[in-house]
Symmetry: C2
Subunit: 155 residues, 2 copies
DNA sequence: ATTAATGCAAACGGTTTGCACTACT
DNA sequence: AGTAGTGCAAACCGTTTGCATTAAT
């Protein structure tokens, strides 16, 4: 599936050819899409749809939510994005560039970290063994208490 | 935490004494709460808030959503319920009786299974080791493809 | 008599949809 | 010209909130 076996510094996807990719599918290149791609290209990790709308507005104040969501759909079809649901239940988009990863969410301090493949190996392997279940790392979501918060007296 | 060390047939929580539990906290026993408890008492596993509202309506057609949600809050405070977020991002309530467990969701067929503590040990241990992170099993959510769907040619 | 809880209705927040209009190709 | 995409506004869906009223204690 992935072409590189290691998980070194994640390389960003090639947003520069989205235009051609769209064309190839008979789709179009518009200013609004350009704006979203610009935003996405400097994003790595996860963002909610609402966040993207907001960031697009910084670039183009006239940004319309529905347009953003529709374009996000298209980007997902192109394989440049994927989405899951965050700890608060909101849609959460992942910029594909970074190796597939899950999330670790501390319910005490609210911080979220990424879990890369090697760290998730234990989960992936055990689910495969016990159930024959193929874990989708990019949808893996684990909640609990981080080291810092576990240490504290729990204020 | 749990009084029984094994994970045999999960036994339902004692909903019969909720009334007293409420009283003990200076809270009240009302017909509406009775309805919800009735519904909850024959529920094991996970349900969404909306589902509970609907089931309550089957018992008492006059059920009001806000009342249900408010009572669910109370039940959670009493420790009889917990909640997390399902694959579709909706609130998902868990009837506590069953040992703490996570969820395994097949994105192909939509089925959801429960992951009990022994199965999750690999995850819990590895996160503890690598990050000092204390995984909250009841919020663990893993998505991917189940054995059956992985086997199929992928329709 | 207290005051927790209810019913109602409106608000909310993120996301989706219908449709006439615009603009990419 | 043809049709994908946009803007807009309204709908949606689950959930939350404010407030006057009701009812458990």
């Amino acid at each position: 599936m992935s072409s590189n076996g290691s998980f070194g510094p994640a390389r960003a996807a090639d947003w520069s050819n989205v235009r051609e990719r769209l064309r190839a599918s008979g789709l179009r290149w518009t200013p609004q899409r350009r704006t979203l791609i610009e935003v996405l290209s400097r994003t790595n990790g996860h963002v909610t749809g609402a966040e993207l709308v907001e960031r697009c507005r910084e670039v183009d104040p006239g940004t319309i939510p529905s347009t953003v969501y529709r374009t996000l759909d298209v980007m997902e079809d192109l394989g440049l994005l994927s989405h899951s649901h965050g700890a608060d239940g909101r849609e959460e988009f992942h910029v594909q560039p970074v190796a597939a990863h899950g999330h670790l969410h501390c319910t005490s301090c609210g911080t979220t970290w990424e879990i890369l493949a090697d760290e998730a190996a234990a989960v992936v392997d055990s689910m495969q063994r016990s159930r024959g279940f193929a874990v989708d790392l990019s949808h893996l979501s684990i909640a609990g208490q981080c080291a810092g918060c576990s240490a504290k007296p729990a204020g």
